[in-house]
Symmetry: D3
Subunit: 250 residues, 6 copies
Amino acid sequence: MNHTRIELITPIITEGLRTLDEVRPFERPDLTITHRLIRQGPASIESEFDEALAVPDTIRAALEAERRGADAIIIDCMGDPGLQACREVLSIPVVGPGQTAMHFAGMLGHRFSFITVLERLRPMVGRLIAGYGLASSFASFRAVDIPVLDIGADTGRLTAALSRESIAAVQQDGADVIVLGCTGFMGCATAMRASLLEAGCDVPVIDPIPLALHVADALVRTGLAHSKRTWPAPGRKRIAGFRIPGFDSD
Amino acid sequence: MNHTRIELITPIITEGLRTLDEVRPFERPDLTITHRLIRQGPASIESEFDEALAVPDTIRAALEAERRGADAIIIDCMGDPGLQACREVLSIPVVGPGQTAMHFAGMLGHRFSFITVLERLRPMVGRLIAGYGLASSFASFRAVDIPVLDIGADTGRLTAALSRESIAAVQQDGADVIVLGCTGFMGCATAMRASLLEAGCDVPVIDPIPLALHVADALVRTGLAHSKRTWPAPGRKRIAGFRIPGFDSD
Amino acid sequence: MNHTRIELITPIITEGLRTLDEVRPFERPDLTITHRLIRQGPASIESEFDEALAVPDTIRAALEAERRGADAIIIDCMGDPGLQACREVLSIPVVGPGQTAMHFAGMLGHRFSFITVLERLRPMVGRLIAGYGLASSFASFRAVDIPVLDIGADTGRLTAALSRESIAAVQQDGADVIVLGCTGFMGCATAMRASLLEAGCDVPVIDPIPLALHVADALVRTGLAHSKRTWPAPGRKRIAGFRIPGFDSD
Amino acid sequence: MNHTRIELITPIITEGLRTLDEVRPFERPDLTITHRLIRQGPASIESEFDEALAVPDTIRAALEAERRGADAIIIDCMGDPGLQACREVLSIPVVGPGQTAMHFAGMLGHRFSFITVLERLRPMVGRLIAGYGLASSFASFRAVDIPVLDIGADTGRLTAALSRESIAAVQQDGADVIVLGCTGFMGCATAMRASLLEAGCDVPVIDPIPLALHVADALVRTGLAHSKRTWPAPGRKRIAGFRIPGFDSD
Amino acid sequence: MNHTRIELITPIITEGLRTLDEVRPFERPDLTITHRLIRQGPASIESEFDEALAVPDTIRAALEAERRGADAIIIDCMGDPGLQACREVLSIPVVGPGQTAMHFAGMLGHRFSFITVLERLRPMVGRLIAGYGLASSFASFRAVDIPVLDIGADTGRLTAALSRESIAAVQQDGADVIVLGCTGFMGCATAMRASLLEAGCDVPVIDPIPLALHVADALVRTGLAHSKRTWPAPGRKRIAGFRIPGFDSD
Amino acid sequence: MNHTRIELITPIITEGLRTLDEVRPFERPDLTITHRLIRQGPASIESEFDEALAVPDTIRAALEAERRGADAIIIDCMGDPGLQACREVLSIPVVGPGQTAMHFAGMLGHRFSFITVLERLRPMVGRLIAGYGLASSFASFRAVDIPVLDIGADTGRLTAALSRESIAAVQQDGADVIVLGCTGFMGCATAMRASLLEAGCDVPVIDPIPLALHVADALVRTGLAHSKRTWPAPGRKRIAGFRIPGFDSD
């Protein structure tokens, strides 16, 4: 049986928000997970601006992961920053937890709700869903109004807020699947599902990173990857101000 | 590490088209696959009529698989016959290879082409795609004009026809992912991908059953299943002419 | 002037819910209506599971009606169970009251609301509407929370609930046409329309069976039927466990 | 049994293109058809400009028909000119053969093709279909390049051209229903269907006026009409230059 | 630098609702604005009926404007009455403020709300948006319940009502751009935007006529006009009851 | 009369592809145009990878332009790189020529074709159009197979190729508006339109930069800008590796 190595790239510079310990439970005898932050970019991602600054070094990190022997890459953010560009430069599967979670939501129920950190992400998430061709499976967007860097501050308050918005999504917006809209919410799904069941709402809660890890493994084991016709390798050309392995020129 | 047991239900009465040997390579130390045919229904599925006759006993088989301890069910047909009804009667994940392959196609590229046995399936496949909310990812439908029961007769001719239609799908219809539109095509993907690459078309070819097996395993291991709010358990009522475990009445 | 014979097939086994007396007022000197129940299937249809068990004998009944000389068939259920399969096996028009009522709703106003028995049908109805290509004419789904078999118990309470939901559909959901979402509601439209007018809501209420009868007659008289290219006759093959006239084999 | 009176309004000034004799075969003992031209407007309708000049007098004619006791109105043009405005001023059903034929096409098959007189109508027809919410049922637009006023000149050539375009629509565009895109084509459907069958294309050909007559009758007999919430009566106000019964002011 | 002459045609017969003084501030040394009412038609436009009576003389006025040397035409009504027909008869740009404002709304934000005079316009506006292909950018329709001819009666009340509905559109309907849905609201945008900002809603308010003037000028200066393939010149034919320059015949 | 200052930012590092001389003809007495390249990024933009590297310094350049007194910004690339992020950091209008040209194409005709440099951009352009909500106005994508840096090498060959693809777009794809899909094609529109007319295709050819300049000016003069509710200012946080005015931290 072949061994799979998946690298999780957290596209921010803040240490400690994501640790290898959190994802280790998903390792198997034939599946190793590695983890890296980026070195150039923002402290957290909550805007198009933050995303724009995170992408160049995410590409660099993805290329280095492939060189170190990774079989697949996961970009650890629900906005899937750099997904398109990384797929151009790599041949191994590049998995976006946002895209993965929303497609699975489409498979597991009729309409999903996307529950995330801040109201200000509403149009960004709307663009993401339109771009993925999933508008007809989308019930609603909801936010708990807690910035990414405060997620860890009070887990009880966070989980309560997520549960409250999820129940409202089911009862008021007609959702029948919940997508956790921030990878920083990892681990909250179990408590949320208990609250939902208590409120009479028997709906799945998708925790994107565990799902993305299994999907990345499934792609590797079935020999699938993104289409190189959709994301062909970029042509070589002069680049100023970035050191990207294999694309350096200045 | 937990052990997963997945039952593959082939919703036809013809023996020998699908064997356990074909799927055994996808077993792992912690994953067992079992396989059953149905006993009441058609010899193969190539119409809405065939599907209608296959579904009642597929439900019965799915219920029995759950009783025997299966952790997930896969319905071995690209039309996903009985997917909705089985999800109502079961709580364990019920995976349709059609739905799964088409959602993965949506993730792995811009537009997919569905290559199947007979031209007559075009409207059925169109309804399936509309129902799954994937119309905006759909490039085209193509058929090789070989009935299901003849698939095994001449593998060389089959693979050649599938490759020819796939290349045409990429070059003429703008497809950048190929979905094998019949689970009886299992195993043809490798040769097709070679032909596609030779023709300069670097696109993934999705073989639905291997993918569905990994997805079923992923759902079990992440504790996910279809939404019971979307597919609530049927109410008990009088039924004539069918013996369905747990729903018998006459 | 030619004479038309339309057979209404009620795809359940419960006697007395639908009687020939109810539809006799729609007969004309040149239009005869006949009526049959199925013999194998569920007591009522309120789930995908119920539908799955109703379809095989609906196909058998439809084939027998054609053999007895029917000019058109109506399947007496708003989910249109077996519509696709029956259209494959028959050349005479097969009319689904769900499809008919919703297309007429699209013609008679801007957005329609579908008012039916149980909340649990919401995703099934959503799939039906998507499959019929009518999503852009759909305002909302509402349910009165009365199971099919209890419809006759208290007509006053039923009509009041239907009226209440219809008024809410107009005032809150922006509906301007009401579709009765269960053929068991036949006859309630007049009282509902009176209540709607009293509430200032001048919108049509579509009672699907009377409409379907006239549409079936119109198709016969204009020489139209469903496209056999969309629903070609099924190929003959071995079938186990069903006796379908013209398709028997075991 | 009630008697229905339907008035067919041909919204052009040219005599002889439409005669009462053509529609008389659709009368029944309980159905009378009357017919009127308009007096102010164009010789034929082949543009938005022509439509604009036809509508005011079509409204006048519709109001007069209602005053004379008509139970329903049909506007005899596939562009449904004045449909919206006439529905505002009338309470009796106003039927557009374009809307009716295209909704029936959506019911009778998967995708329809619209075959009409001139290529220049392509965008107008596209807007009509989008406005009716039927874009997902639309396969293609085709034209025979024969102006309306020349339709009667050479029926053989017309029917041959219509048949040729219809066969191409099925074989090249994936159509499985044909909609005659000009009410002046009335009567061509039978020969076209024979040609289609000969070419192996078993698809219905919808002749809009006979269908519209039956649909108008069905609406009258089921007590249905367009929603007055969608098309409320216009407020009274000063009008210059038109004499519209009930709305005159200058 | 070339000089542009734009003619604003107000498609109603009521004098004083629109004056040249209102648009003169948008003139520039190289941009002259002229203004005309129509002579045949309704006092105001609040229905499909009103629109139908306004269009013929709008076409006449547009043709005369072109003959007098106008470089572009603007039809001064948010329903864009006659836009299609005028584009057929003219080669110079014909600008609809409804189409222009809604496309700019699509550029300036995620979802727009259309705030207009009367609730009864909801379906008309829905058809307009569907016809323009902008349904996915549309958040909601709202009305202030003040008829067109009363707009000038109490500007304070009007602006308060518009502001109230705009704030509700942002807070309840998820709008992030406001489109003034009646050209008679010209000048209200500034006060509305102030109210919106006070309520914490930093969204643009599009005043359609000033925008349409600049867009018409931009089209002229870049040498662009509507596609004559979409709107080809109407064929010459007999016309009764209208005197249209260049199309007269009776 | 107020004076407008528009800054055109070419988001690549290659000098000479765009010069101020090219856009100077669009200046007016009350409109000044300035121009800047970026200093960090790729030589040209032909992939998601190139875009990713271009965006950070485009943001920096946009912020500096605002500080220097620009009234509006245009990002000189049809992929609109950085449009979303720049709109977050700026309050003055940020105009994307891709978005502008495609919305105007939607106004000026029924269906547009996008003609650009390389076939590999097809999925990127598809995502852009979906994100802008313009899928229903899109006829086709075509490419001339000439890389951006070779555009200037042989203008005759370029214009011939663009004309050939445009004529094919009209005749084969049903396009009735042409969008130049690369801002490097500036100036080719006149010759293309002549070729199109010669081939009997009277359709507009949109040259995006001249149009974007007039649209930017129109927004400034009407006091409009993008919605700050859609693109709120990014929160301040730690950033590593970029010097962005007003957002520096490390």
